[in-house]
């Protein structure tokens, strides 16, 4: 293991997820000698990419598994909607435009796509799904990297990226909790994710409520390298106090629950807080466009908890939950089982039911079936909860990623107050904050990672292979 560490290396890649692998493969194909330092053990390799499932892709006509077309402006408008304008338009459009050429590149490097999964028809035009999901993509890339002669070291925690002025010289790394070793390279690509699994950091940024959050992704994104670079004067982007959280099943594991902990029932539900009060329009838009805001909505409620209630009519309209719902024959009994005040819950649901109006219900598109005279309103899919059995799901915020990252140029070079570093590039969640200032767009994280990973790998290899490093004569 230790012998694997000493190169010489042209490009050292810190991290082992999608962006890191795209960088490593691109650099290796350019002829560079590449080392990947992945913090996780092999079964958990791949960062949050392990849990992903698709890639949002611009295309001017049918492309691979993608139907129709998805033009740059529509894509950018979708991004504006979720970020409420908190995005760097130039970088965002660069990512969007580059995505079209990424898909064939991904296929050429072992990634297999499939038509959108059942229950995700709404994404069949915009998102290409990975056959087997993100871990299959990660496996394909590791195999490709291995075939290209890339060296991979697992359980390699980089603790410090050593800079001399505006130039990277070496990393300090501990393998399998062993002694710290210095590994030097001509270039470095940083792609080791955000800090969402460091709960103390989350609590400092968000407040003590963050200790009640569940972490949906890898336990290995602790932000060590991100913190190290910020401490060395690199410029940051993204809101340091915010994380992207979605509402997930409150019974999910503390870490790594991934996709199965999602609950897609909100559009068909009445959602209340622990005081049995509704707090937001559950039917604002189709779920893929709105699921991303519910984590923050629930996080703002007392005790960071919510309850989604449905009746038998809606039970088969959404993906099954990983844990069985709480079930009861009356709303009052359901409240009791969920630990809510039965009388208050019955009153809230009663008021909701009275505000529902007849009309045509359509589960997959906005049907305009809205409440009348209710605050907050439910603007679509508003049907009374009247058909037993009734089902209830506890909701808690599940953190997917953090927004704080490193500022980069369009070449993926890491920025300091005095300009870009000469041989340090960054990609993936570590830099996504420029483009995703808030909210989330399904499959866009993988797009950012793929586009910037490839750019970073290309730049790092070009630097290492062409730069005549001037030897300092002492």
């Amino acid at each position: 293991m230790a012998n694997d560490l000493q190169g010489p290396w042209d490009v050292i890649v810190v991290g082992g997820g999608n962006a890191a692998l795209c960088a490593a493969i691109t650099a290796a194909e350019a002829g560079a000698r590449v080392l990947i330092l992945e913090g996780a053990p092999k079964p958990y390799r791949g960062g949050n990419s392990r849990h992903t499932r698709n890639f949002r892709c611009m295309h001017r006509g049918p492309l691979s598994v993608l139907t129709g077309s998805y033009a740059e402006d529509e894509y950018f408008d979708d991004l504006l909607l979720v970020t409420k304008g908190k995005t760097d338009e130039a970088l965002a459009r660069f990512v969007i435009r580059s995505s079209e050429e990424c898909l064939p590149w991904m296929e050429a490097h072992g990634v297999r796509f499939q038509p959108s999964l059942s229950g995700t028809l709404s994404l069949s035009r915009t998102n290409a799904f990975f056959l087997g999901g993100g871990k299959a993509l990660v496996n394909a890339y590791y195999n490709m990297a291995q075939d290209l002669g890339v060296t991979v070291v697992y359980e390699a925690q980089v603790t410090h990226v050593v800079l001399e002025g505006d130039r990277f010289t070496h990393v300090e790394v501990s393998v399998a909790s062993g002694p710290t070793e210095c590994v030097s390279g001509k270039s470095v690509v940083l792609a080791s994710g955000g800090f969402q699994s460091d709960v103390d950091w989350l609590a400092r940024a968000w407040g003590p409520a963050a200790r009640n959050f569940l972490i949906r992704g890898t336990p290995y994104n602790r932000g060590v390298v991100l913190r190290d670079m910020l401490d060395q004067g690199c410029e940051s982007v993204g809101d340091p106090t915010q994380c992207h959280a979605v509402a997930i099943d409150g019974r999910a594991p503390k870490y790594d629950g991934g996709i199965v902990t999602r609950l897609d029932c909100v559009p068909f539900a009445v959602v209340v807080n622990k005081h049995c009060e509704r707090f937001y329009d559950e039917g604002e838009d189709v779920w893929p466009k709105r699921y991303a805001i519910w984590g923050r909505l629930v996080a703002a409620q007392p005790g960071q908890v919510g309850y989604a209630l449905i009746d038998a009519k809606s039970y088969n309209l959404f993906m099954p939950s990983v844990f069985p719902p709480v079930k009861a024959d009356t709303i009052g009994e359901l409240g009791q089982k969920l630990g809510l005040d039965p009388a208050k819950l019955s009153a809230t649901v009663g008021a909701f039911n009275d505000a529902c109006r007849p009309g045509k219900f359509h589960p997959t598109e906005r049907d305009g079936l809205a409440t009348e005279g209710l605050t907050p309103p439910k603007t679509n899919w508003a049907r009374p909860l009247e058909t037993p059995p009734f089902y209830g799901y506890q909701l808690r915020p599940g953190v997917t990623f953090t927004y704080l990252g490193l500022r980069v140029t369009q070449d993926a070079a890491v920025q300091t107050r005095s300009g870009p570093l000469r041989n340090v590039w960054a990609a993936g969640e570590m830099i996504a904050g420029s483009i995703l200032g808030q909210g989330y767009l399904a499959g866009f994280g993988m797009t950012i990672g793929t586009v910037f990973g490839r750019v970073a790998g290309r730049q790092a290899a070009a630097h290492a292979l062409t730069k005549k490093e001037t030897l300092r004569v002492a």
């Binding site: 079964p43 087997g132 999901g133 959404f318 990983v322």
Partner: protein
Amino acid sequence: MSLDLSAHLTATAEARRQIEICNACRYCEGFCAVFPAMTREKAFADGDLTHLANLCHNCRGCYYSCQYTEPHEFALNIPAALAEVRQESWERLVGPAAFSRAFHENGVAMAGAMVLGIAALFGLIATLPEGEGAGFYAFMSHNAMVALFLPAFLLPLAAVGVGVGRYWREVGAGRATLGDLTAALLAAGRMKNLSGGQGQGCNFEREDRYSDARRHCHQAVMWGFLLCFAATSTATLMHYLLAWPAPYPPLSPPKLLGVPGGVLMVAGALGLVWLKTRADRALGAARVWGGEMAFILLLAFVAASGLALYAVSGTAAVPVLLALHLGSVLTLFLLLPYTKMVHGFFRLAALVAEEAMKRRTPVSSGGE
């Protein structure tokens, strides 16, 4: 509670725990028929799990793509969980159970049975009066062979038939049409469920890298076996309808079918043995690994001894090889309900059942 991780869960309860997690994920939908089939349900009865288990071809694509395999607390291992249920279902549905367990689990028992079968043939050949016919019929008459092999073939088939009938009722397959059967036969003929969904094959001997080696070896054995079976059937028809008894010349239907069939069977079986030694045992029903291995070797021995018997035609070695070949064939037939051989019948039944269920209940699309 679906996530109780106690070690004493039965195979079915453990499979249910795992399938409920899969059904909330569905990333593996594109690999095979199992994942689309599970989307028909939100709650899984025992019969549903029996069906999914027999539909699973153990391609292992889902295991290597799964973000919930150990050390994750969900500890998913669908190929193994379904292999356990599948194995348990054969042992439960095909009687008598004591035979099932003895041979499925135990390669040594199978080898012992083979020794007995071969010894019985040596005994028969030694004690029966000399046959009237030419070739091997000089050592064992056609009538003696029929008297021995007809019941040894039909009785085990009947036992399997009863078991498959029980399976059909347990999974609630309902009525199947000719179209269902055709679609199932096409899937089996191409081993569609070992293709990984896109023709890249499965994850077997090279961990998470895809390979078609197992699919190709399996098809060599399957088609080889069917060719040998066709050779014997053709010969029987020629014997009775054309009054044309064995031995047959090299360019006759029995030889043209049987020789390539035997070669395919030997090559395919040896390939499967080699692949099995390289694959991770923990991704199948580990307790029957030895029995499965012995069964593949038995198949290889049946085919190789048949080819050898043909090769030594007219020499003094014929009686010895005749006993070896017929003895191993006898063992294969008699053990058919109690070895891996039974998987073919159940797998085909599961494929037909799936076509029928799919036709009646198009797979749900989670509300879309």
